[in-house]
């Protein structure tokens, strides 16, 4: 052994008490009736149960999967049925209960097929790590650190030393000693495999205290024997023994003893190129990869004077401690305490039902003579024994002093956080002060304080950041305001002029159109019926959605929504009764005419063709015929506007809103493309209609000689289209609402956002249904109503449409290049236009008694408010 040994600072020599458990040979325990598998057996996130109550499980079957990388899987250790998933006593220092999967064993001990592999050294690093994670292997020396994490050190740390920890410095425990004697070959194989996983470190050191001569001999023998085999890296394996002293088995201490290096405070061994694994873990990893067997059993030392026999046993994980102890003749009466682990670092278990877990290396049940109750603490006489014993180079007496005074600053200055809680200081303290207990409590307090501090820091930062942002925004606004003022005035003047011009021009249209419509409706019962039916449907839909919302809402909102729901109910009743009335009426008056095709020939009789007014009306109606395309174009331009604005907003918005904004922009873009497509379709339809018109139209307006009559006929055809138009109208209204809702959703704050988004989604759905209706309608219409004024719909409007598109595009482009003030002016302008349009729409709707009146009015009001806002800027 050429390996140098470095001295361990501090340390104590507690009575070893290792002989008791070495007297009887290793045995295998029976299967208990019930096994309990805590979900948290390792450091890190608890595993996630993947079985349910009543499931039958086999030995080796995964019953809980790792929950993230810092976790380990859990496997059933025998066959049986999952009888419960609930809180049970678990072996934890806190003594608290934890979630467990409980398996009622069936005694058959059936197992899944373990799939091993021929040559583990050929498997790549990633798959090996994955296999280890899924085999549920966590440090078996006591800490329970998930092995897969340890074996996957940060890539910039070059691991040059692998240390296999066979120290077992705790008194009483001999589990690793026995393992090293029984499984020395697997340990050697396992450590070469670990070295392979770690990319071949220069040294592989198996550290064993010199009080285990048999284990050392077994390891050395196996090393010699396996040297003949072709194990990669076996020439770098060394068995190193060193003097017995507690706590040389602590990871940091072992590193110091074997390499002379110290793990930097707060760092990991990997930071100085070292990885340490326990011998038990090494064997488990070898088994998992070579034989495919997950971690379902381990060697546990069962020792203490309140047992009839003492020894080591292979125990199935999940076996209750009580069961294990009974196998060794446990006499509960004489037991002073039940300790999981050794006497120095083990923790006392209040409940013997707590199961054996991956980290259970020992169950210690001393008698009262063996371990008398702790003596009452006396005053610290500052003898300094503790400081001499401390392997971490701390001053335990000072730490104790400051812990009592809760002086956290001083505790940190005295490196409390480097205390490994080995208990050496308490062990030697002549005043029997439970020093470690104080340190644990103080560490907890400090961590808690840190968490709280971090929390308050973060919220303060957030507040300051927000404050700054608001200030900045204010300043920017102020700067812009002045610049805008003049531009706004100019724009206002211009807009007023525009508006004046615009108002006069289209004024004739709505009146005429409305009159024509009213006439048409009166004259067309079928149309009216359809409308009423739609109204009923609408009302019903609204009622449904209101009900849904109402049921989902809570608190204040609920009351509001309830009234809305009631209103919707009333409206539905109203609509239904109207429909009912109308049906009765029409049944009495006019039993036949429910077909638009049969209706159209009769209607022209109602119009007096000689009247010039009638002619104007007809013209107006003709103009109306252009409306789908025009409207589409309008939509497009307004969409462009909105898109622009949304993009601006998105670029101005801060991070957390940006995502929402960008989504809104995305949606607008989609809408725009779909609208453009619609326009294209409309354009495409026009020629098609022209074709069909000549071929099939029964009443071709062109074939009518009288121009007036022709106009009338056309107008009537147009009227036939009005349901589609209406659908278009409502579609448009819906779309504006959607846009607004989206805006609101984007600007809403966190807690209201979900509600808003739900509203947006509902609107989107509605739009979809309306769109569908439209297409259906169109499909119906196509064969039924083929007559379409060929020349009008084909040539000129098409040009107008493309011109409008061009215009919109140009506008958008121009807008993009505008300065702020210009933009503002343009915004004002476009808003004013929109208001006009909205006004018209509203007027029309009121006259028609359209369902959407409310929506239109609301939209108008909003637009007006916006305009005011803009102007005031």
């Amino acid at each position: 052994m050429s390996q140098l040994i470095y001295p361990l600072r501090g340390g104590v020599h507690p009575p070893e008490n290792k002989q008791q458990s070495l007297q009887s040979p290793l045995r295998r325990l029976a299967i208990p009736g019930e096994l309990v598998f805590p979900l948290a057996q390792h450091i890190g996130a608890p595993a996630k149960a993947v079985v349910e109550i009543g499931d039958r499980v086999l030995a080796g079957q995964m019953i809980a999967e790792p929950n993230g990388p810092f976790s380990a899987a859990i496997h059933a250790s025998t066959s049986g049925t999952v009888s419960a998933i609930e809180a049970r006593p678990i072996p934890h220092a806190s003594g608290l209960w934890g979630d467990c999967i409980v398996v009622a064993a069936d005694g058959k001990d059936e197992s899944i097929d373990f799939v091993g592999c021929e040559n583990p050294f050929k498997i790549d690093h990633e798959s090996l790590i994955e296999k280890i994670r899924h085999a549920g292997i966590a440090g078996m020396g006591g800490a329970g650190f998930p092995s897969a994490v340890k074996l996957n050190p940060p890539p910039n740390n070059n691991i040059d030393t692998l240390i296999i920890n066979g120290t077992e410095c705790e008194p009483y425990i001999t589990a690793d000693d026995v393992l090293m004697q029984e499984r020395s070959e697997d340990i050697i194989r396992g450590c070469t495999l670990l070295a392979h996983i770690l990319n071949g470190p220069d040294r592989i050191l198996i550290g064993v205290e010199d009080n285990k001569p048999k284990a050392i001999a077994a390891l050395e023998q196996s090393l010699l024997k396996l040297a003949a085999e072709d194990l990669p890296g076996i020439d770098r394996v060394q068995v190193v023994s060193f003097p017995t002293k507690y706590p040389s088995g602590g990871e940091k201490q072992l590193i110091q003893i074997l390499t002379g290096k110290e793990v930097p405070s707060g760092g990991l061994p990997a930071h100085i190129g070292i990885v340490v694994q326990n011998v038990g873990t090494t064997v488990a990893i070898w088994e998992a990869i070579k034989h495919g067997k997950p971690l379902i059993e381990r060697i546990t030392t069962v020792v203490g004077e309140s047992l009839k026999e003492q020894g080591n046993a292979i125990v199935k994980l999940g076996s209750p401690s009580q069961f294990v102890l009974e196998q060794f003749g446990f006499q509960e009466k004489s037991c002073a305490r039940l300790i999981a682990g050794g006497p120095m670092m083990g923790f006392s278990l209040p409940d013997s039902r707590a199961p054996i877990v991956k980290t259970s290396n020992c169950l210690l049940v001393p008698s009262h003579q063996e371990m008398p109750d702790p003596a009452p603490a006396q005053a610290c006489i500052r003898c300094g024994h503790c400081a001499e014993a401390c392997p971490a180079g701390l001053l335990p007496q000072q730490l104790y002093w400051y812990a009592q005074a809760k002086e956290h600053d001083r505790l940190l200055a005295h490196n409390l956080m480097d205390c490994i809680e080995c208990g050496a200081c308490s062990f030697v303290c002549p005043s029997s002060i439970p020093l470690v207990q104080y340190y644990r409590a103080s560490k907890g307090e400090i961590r808690q304080a840190e968490i709280e501090k971090e929390k308050s820091d973060r919220s303060r930062q957030r507040f300051e950041f927000r404050q700054k942002r608001i200030e900045r925004a204010e300043a920017e606004k102020e700067a812009k305001r002045l610049a805008r003022k003049k531009a706004a005035e100019a724009a206002k003047a211009k807009a007023a002029a525009n508006a004046g011009a615009a108002k006069t021009a289209p004024a004739a249209d709505p009146v005429a159109a409305a009159m024509a419509r009213v006439q048409a409706q009166q004259s067309d019962p079928a149309e009216q019926l359809a409308k009423l039916e739609r109204a009923v449907n609408n009302a019903r839909n609204r009622l449904n959605s209101a009900e849904e919302k109402w049921q989902q809402a809570e608190g204040d909102q609920k009351a509001k929504l309830e009234s809305r729901f009631k209103q919707a109910q009333l409206r539905l009743q109203d609509a239904e009764s109207k429909l009912h009335d109308f049906k009765q009426q029409s049944a009495g008056q006019n039993p036949a005419p429910s077909n638009p095709t049969s209706a159209s020939p009769t209607t022209p009789l109602n119009i007096d063709s000689d009247d010039p007014i009638e002619r104007a009306k007809a013209k107006a109606q003709q103009r109306l015929s252009m409306s789908p395309l025009e409207k589409a174009e309008n939509n497009l331009s307004s969409l462009n506007d909105r898109l622009k604005k949304a993009q601006e907003k998105a670029s101005e918005a801060d991070d957390d809103k940006r995502a929402a904004m960008e989504a809104a922009v995305e949606k607008l873009k989609q809408k725009k493309t779909s609208l453009e497509k619609e326009i294209d379709e409309l354009k495409a339809q026009a020629p098609l209609k022209e074709n069909t018109a000549t071929a099939e139209t029964p009443v071709d307006p062109n074939s009518i000689d009288d121009p007036i009559e022709r106009a009338k006929a056309k107008a009537m055809q147009r009227l036939n289209m009005s349901p589609a138009e209406k659908l278009q109208n409502s579609l448009q209204a819906l779309q504006t609402r959607l846009a607004k809702a989206e805006e609101k959703a984007a600007s809403a704050d966190e807690d209201r956002r979900p509600a808003m988004q739900a509203a947006v989604e509902k609107l989107q759905e509605k739009i979809k249904t309306v769109e569908q209706e439209i297409t259906e309608f169109k499909a119906q219409e196509e064969p039924a109503k083929p007559a379409e004024s060929a020349n009008e719909s084909s040539g000129i409007p098409l040009d107008a449409a493309s011109a409008a598109i061009e215009k919109a595009k140009a506008k958008a482009a121009a807008q993009a290049q505008m300065s702020d003030s210009e933009k503002h002016a343009a915004q004002v302008e476009s808003l004013q236009q929109r208001i006009q349009k909205a006004q018209q729409r509203l007027d029309k709707a009121t006259e028609e008694g359209n369902d959407n009146v409310d929506a239109f009015r609301l939209g108008l009001e909003k637009l007006q408010a916006k305009l005011k806002e803009l102007e005031s800027e």
Binding site: Q256, P374, H385, E388, Q398
Partner: protein, 350 residues
Amino acid sequence: MSFLRASSPHAHAANNTTKVMQTVLLATLPGLLALTVFFGPGSIINILLALIFCLAGEALVLRLRKRPLGFYLRDYSAAVTAVLLGLALPPYCPWWVVMVASVSAIIIAKQLYGGMGYNPFNPAMVGYVVVLISFPLQMSQWPSPASLLESLPSISASISQVFTGQGLDAYTSATALDIVKQNNSQLISQVYADSDLLRSGSLAGAGWEWVNLGFLMGGLYLLYKKVFTWHAPVAMLASLSLFALLGYDSGSSQSGGSLSLHLFSGATMLGAFFIITDPVSSAVSNKGRLIFGAAVGALVYLIRVLGNYPDAVAFAVLLMNFAAPFIDYYTVPRSYGHAKPRKATEKQEP
């Protein structure tokens, strides 16, 4: 069944404060023996008186503070204070001197600061210094060693001397340190030739050298029993030796006394092994104890040679008790995983 819940570690070394204190008491025996052999039963009477006053004082305060009497008295710390005080006071000093010293030690120096473990000053030394300053006459009367008297004082005469001030005639003489200090116009060799006391001793005067050897023995025993570490005593003796060597010019009238005189006279060994090793009032780390001990050694020499008092252990120790917290601040050991030791005055991670 629910089991006892206890914090790790569950094992405990077979030692406790009481045992430590008992060991210390045991270790004073060789010194006490030498004192009795050479100076008569005076020291034993001192110790008994001090024990009575100290334990009574401790019990009184514990009662007032409503602390369990038995538990605290059984820690033997008051007893140790009493014994050390009894050893330090001149034999046959009046009983009220012992009483004042005891009360000062236990009530003022120890309990008023919070009891065992909380006293910044060594209680025995506080008691000693209080009476040294208050009653300089009584405190300077050391008996002559037996070899210079016809017979050792009898027990009854001793007792009457202690309680009535009469019973012993002309039993006092100057101590070795007094002699050397007061004869600064003579060569050291002349001083030795003139003094019976110094002439009859081989190291530092008759009796005294044996007393110091006795305490040295006790101290070595305590070291062996690992009651304390070697750092403070060795540092004190080493620095005292160094100063003595530097200040001794092989016997001129300006000479500060020989190495052996300083090491084996007065309270040197008592101080080195029983006073400055009092853990409560000294520095906590080994490095700190080295500094503490060395400083005490230096002060002892300086006060002996340059000060007004012939012996200086008590003053030196009290002065360094003052300094101990500061030493602690700057001698925090380097913890595992830290590149260099951190000063305790640093509050947070840098």
